[in-house]
Amino acid sequence: MSEALLEVSDLVKHFTVGGGILSGAAGLVRAIDGVSFTIERGETLGLVGESGCGKTTTGRCILQLERPTGGRILFEGRDLSALSVDELRKVRRRIQVIFQDPYSSLNPRMTVGQILAEPLKVHGIVPEKVARPARVRELLAQVGLAPQHARRYPHQLSGGQRQRVGIARALAMEPSLIVCDEPVSALDVSIQAQIINLLEDLQRRYGLTFLFIAHDLSVVRHISDRVAVMYLGKIVELADRKTLYEEPLHPYTRALLSAVPIPDPDVEARREHTVLRGEVPSPLRPPPGCVFHPRCPIAVDRCAAEVPALREIRPGHCAACHLA
């Protein structure tokens, strides 16, 4: 497991806001501000952070749903921005997505069978019409649904069943990389574990690679091999799962971990909590120096003046903090 399936280097995505007749001067939202990471074949990289940190935009750039402002995305060794429309279409098929809310990402007027058969037809994966129902049944079985679910409409399914359909639709394309964008956060607690187990089974069986985007740190620890923590458009820490959760170096990572309540009153009574001051600043006007310094419990003068680079503190463990 040492071959990089995806290599993201120095990715930048800026959005222009305002600039209209009524909304005043244009502003620049630095949604992603120089993000680099690799994902190896068969690996799961967790991407965590709070709303607005750029984790979803990073996923959308990889999916080519957003055109990056700068940087490079290499998938299977090829630069996605250098491909022709035809080539991109072929390559892009192998990058699939699972969304948070399966209800809004499934066509309500199509049956589950039609939803799953369509990509088989459009992309010529199963060109013969007669062969498609069998493939649909196979896909349903792979995600733990019964053949009769093919005749149902999305609204006739529970949330967990809909997410299974979303996963089956991604599998239909025979992808190598799946961007999972908050795939369990809309589901009930008792169903989340079912879906996580399913994703892990599918990964093992088909050698899938996951970019797992989520805000739930316990779920990310469970499913990821390595974890990147984002704050205001930048990766502030990246390490293998065990190291990140047991020896976090960045004060933001530490604060995040401390903020997660543990489902055990005895543990909670003994735990120390670092409650962060303030809120995430606007990405329209990110603070100078380290973007985290206004909320950082250990910031020094240097942090307000100088942007810390993401550097390797120990082998495989990177942090963007002057004090790490």
């Binding site: 949330g159 008792s190 971990l257 005895d266 409650v275 809120e279």
Partner: protein, 337 residues
């Protein structure tokens, strides 16, 4: 040692039943639940979507929307007075003044075209009979109390000027405005990021303790319950299936559903497990509940009786611990082994 504090019951819900008429049939959203809150206590109502936890709170406030929704029967005794027997006029004097509510999504529960100041002062003038000047002074005091800086300037702003965390602070300020003895908080931090969630929950707990306010926290988050609740009621398909002091419930769950919930979530303080242990099956369809225990189709402890007869909640193993499970004793024995 004897606890000499006088413990008085603030709110007692008795055999509450609330139904909704839907195209698919009658939904028994709250199906005969009984529970109470003592003065100054924080009680959690925990469960997954559709279990009836929010409808319980709306029923207490008499905000269940007719004609589809209806409180069928039961009593809601607030300091001994049955809220379900009050006139609408009398009920208006209870909402906000005696019992306040905090909702999940502050943006939809704040009025977008009224200034922050007006939304705070309106209740103070109506409920507390304050003059505009008094109400304004109190509004500044309230914003300061919930940690909103520069309160004088903030009063003139509108909800869209506030971030999600600040809006929820504003909701806390509005809830506390008339010194109510009880606050119902329905998923107060679910829409917030984890660092902001921690801020708001700490704020709510500190203020509740300082002002002696009792709280009902409605949530699906077992971690939030563990950190903030004194007692816990677990709901499933419209019923309370387990109830105990928080420490007791987590240490000795006595219902297979509670046990399943606790085992299905990955925990940061424990070594990573190779595989999660989910609760199998699907959440119940409330229009087609089985005749017996609603959890039976998903339950690892199911016996024949569970499919025929719904178990009533009953004391199990002392310490005020209650469970609605025919097989609770077997579960206790298994966990002890």
């Amino acid at each position: 040692m004897l606890d000499c504090r006088a413990v008085a019951t603030l709110l007692e819900v008795r055999n509450l039943k609330t139904t909704f008429q839907t195209a698919a049939g009658v939904v028994r959203a709250v199906d005969g639940v009984s529970w109470k809150i003592e003065e100054g206590e924080t009680v959690a109502l925990v469960g997954e979507s559709g279990c009836g936890k929010s409808v319980s709170a709306l029923s207490i406030m008499r905000l269940v929307a007719p004609p589809a929704g209806r409180i069928e029967s039961g009593e809601v005794l607030f300091r001994g007075r049955d809220l379900l027997a009050l006139t609408e006029e009398q009920m208006r004097g209870v909402r906000g003044r005696e019992i306040a509510m905090i909702f999940q999504e502050p943006m939809t529960s704040l009025n977008p075209v009224l200034s922050i100041g007006r939304q705070l002062t309106e209740g103070l003038e109506i409920h507390m009979g304050m003059t505009p000047d008094e109400a304004r002074a109190r509004a500044v005091e309230l914003l300061t109390m919930v940690g909103i800086s520069d309160p004088e300037r903030r009063l003139a702003q509108y909800p869209h000027h506030f971030s999600g965390g600040m809006r929820q602070r504003m909701m806390v300020a509005m809830a506390l405005a008339c010194h109510p003895p009880l606050i119902l908080a329905d998923e107060p931090t679910t829409a917030l990021d984890v660092t902001i969630q921690a801020q708001i929950l700490e704020l709510m707990r500190d203020l509740a303790r300082r002002l002696g306010v009792a709280m009902l926290i409605i949530t699906h988050n077992l971690g939030v319950v563990a950190r903030y609740a004194d007692r816990v009621n677990v709901m499933y398909a419209g019923r309370i299936i387990e109830s105990a002091a928080a420490g007791e419930l987590y240490a000795n769950p006595r219902h297979p559903y509670t046990l399943g919930l606790l085992r299905s979530v990955p925990r940061l303080d424990e070594p990573r497990r190779e595989r999660l242990a989910p609760i199998e099956g699907q959440p119940p369809d409330l229009t087609r509940l089985p005749p017996g225990c609603a959890f039976a189709p998903r339950c690892a402890y199911r016996v024949a009786r569970c499919e025929e007869e719904a178990p009533q909640i009953r004391p199990i193993g002392g310490a005020g611990h209650h469970s609605a499970c025919w097989e609770a004793e077997r579960l206790v024995k298994d966990l002890a082994a």
